[in-house]
């Protein structure tokens, strides 16, 4: 059995005889610093976040959430305004194509929004180019689509997680785009013929 010895090989009889600290044989700090540098370079954001005290981190997250909420509201307002042209829309067109309350929440793809807004802006002129009976039928169909969207949204209000309703609502948005595109193509054909 081996007895208790200190760092120099001398036998000790009590804890008090042990050295208070043991110095390493060489300076280890440069190696540690180099290792830390490699880790920071690989994940600077993560190391930054770890350096922030928890209280400050919570405050930062709160501000980020508030900013995200404000941005969402701003995007919603922008979509509402840009999608609903308020000038030069003949009677019936606005009512048939108004954005509904779920528009901003459901269809937030910027490209879709741009194309839909452009189609709606040109709709009054496109309708003017159609023969009057066709114009009346198209307006009735757009009103049908709007009613379908409202009905689906109303049902989704009661059952927000219903996959069937969500799917049908997306289908109806697609139908609206198809109808608007068909009207554009039809009026273009009328001009070209």
């Amino acid at each position: 059995m081996t007895g208790p010895y200190d760092g120099t090989g001398r036998k000790v009889d009590s804890l008090a005889e042990l050295a208070r600290s043991i110095e390493p044989e060489r300076d280890l700090w440069p190696t540690i610093e180099a290792s830390l540098g490699r880790v920071e370079a690989a994940a600077p954001a993560a190391s930054d976040a770890n350096l922030i005290p928890p209280r400050r981190r919570r405050a930062r997250l709160t501000w980020l959430a508030a900013a995200a909420m404000l941005a969402s509201v701003a995007v919603g307002v922008w979509i509402g305004r840009s999608v609903l042209p308020d000038v030069g829309v003949p009677a019936g067109v606005g009512a048939a194509t108004d954005a509904t309350t779920f528009d901003a929440a459901y269809v937030n793809d910027p490209r879709y929004q741009r194309e839909r807004a452009a189609l709606l802006r040109s709709l009054p002129a496109r309708l003017e180019a159609l023969p009057p009976p066709a114009r009346a039928k198209v307006l009735a169909s757009l009103a049908t689509i709007r009613k379908a969207k409202q009905d689906l949204e109303s049902a989704l209000g009661k059952d927000p997680g219903n996959a069937l309703l969500q799917e049908l609502l997306v289908d109806t948005y697609q139908d609206e785009m198809r109808a608007l595109t068909d009207v554009r193509e039809a009026s273009d054909a009328g001009r070209g013929v």
Partner: protein, 299 residues
């Protein structure tokens, strides 16, 4: 008195000159050489367009034209023949023309109209038919068909030759008989009535119009029929059977094989019907919000 008489004479002369300017109906005939499998592009705003296939390598045009029609352009170059009724710019599309065009049977035809009705028969090539408020009546050939109207009706009749059929209308009714192949059809408020002698895939969609599908399904065929508020009635027969799932939020679901629809969930509105007929090689999916659903596994 003399002054009043003068004014009356001037007025009469003006009316007479206006009447002289408005021509009576007139006719136009022209025949040009064309490729046996070329493209024939036909357009007319109002009146009618009748296209039929024949065995000659010529495109023949006979037209009865209203007084307001300026001319008919007919030209053929590089396998493409163009037939176009031209109106003066001030008419705002009111000049009518009755156009009768005969094309080589295997031509690809591209017909555009605003309020003119389109009738097509005896053509075997690809058909592209577009009208705004005019009705489209066509006999399908052996090739793909794309037919589209805004408010006009679409009435198509095939011979069971497989092709890709793409048909849509905003408010017009769509009726297809004896189609085959892959079908995709949609309407917002019109009725969609389709019979397919042999189907590989079917996609039918309406917003408020009813959907009625009758089809013999090929092995592994897929059917998807949806409507928001219209009723959907699918009668599909398949030798190798099909799996099915039908769901509706507030409509009724029924079938002809005595399987009862279930509630979508204990605390959820809506009902659902699912199962398998035969070997279940195909797949049928139906969904509505408030429309009723009927499914049957025999035609």
């Amino acid at each position: 008195m003399r002054r009043a008489c003068g004014m009356a004479v001037s007025l009469l002369a003006l009316c007479a000159s206006r009447m002289a300017l408005a021509r009576d109906d007139w006719t136009f005939d022209k025949t040009v050489a064309a490729s046996a499998r070329g493209v024939v592009d036909i357009s007319n705003v109002a009146g009618s367009i009748e296209v039929s296939g024949w065995d000659r390598q010529e495109v023949s045009v006979h037209a009865v034209l209203g007084g307001e029609v300026e001319r008919v352009d007919v030209s053929s170059e590089g396998g493409r023949t163009l037939v176009k009724v031209v109106l003066p710019s001030h008419t705002r599309g009111h000049g009518e023309a009755e156009l009768h065009v005969q094309v080589p049977r295997e031509s690809e035809v591209d017909v555009s109209a605003v309020s003119a009705d389109i009738r097509l028969s005896g053509v075997l090539g690809v058909e592209r038919l577009n009208a705004v408020s005019g009705d489209v009546t066509a006999e399908l050939g052996n090739a793909d068909v794309e037919a589209k109207t805004v408010s006009g009706e679409l009435r198509l009749k095939g011979h069971g030759s497989a092709a890709r059929l793409h048909i849509s209308s905003v408010s017009g009714d769509v009726r297809l008989e004896h189609g085959a192949g892959d079908f995709e059809g949609s309407t917002v408020s019109g009725t969609l009535g389709v019979t397919l002698d042999s189907a590989g895939s079917i996609r039918a969609r309406s917003t408020s119009g009813d959907v009625r599908l009758e089809a013999k399904l090929a092995r592994g065929a897929t059917v998807e029929a949806t409507s928001v508020s219209g009723d959907v009635n699918v009668r599909a027969s398949a030798e190798d059977g099909f799996s099915y799932e039908a769901s509706s939020f507030s409509g009724d679901i029924s079938d002809c094989f005595d399987v009862k629809a279930e509630r979508a969930g204990q605390y959820m509105p809506g009902s659902r019907l699912q199962g398998t007929r035969g070997a279940g090689a195909g797949h049928v999916r139906i969904k509505t919000m408030s429309g009723d659903v009927q499914l049957c596994d025999r035609n």
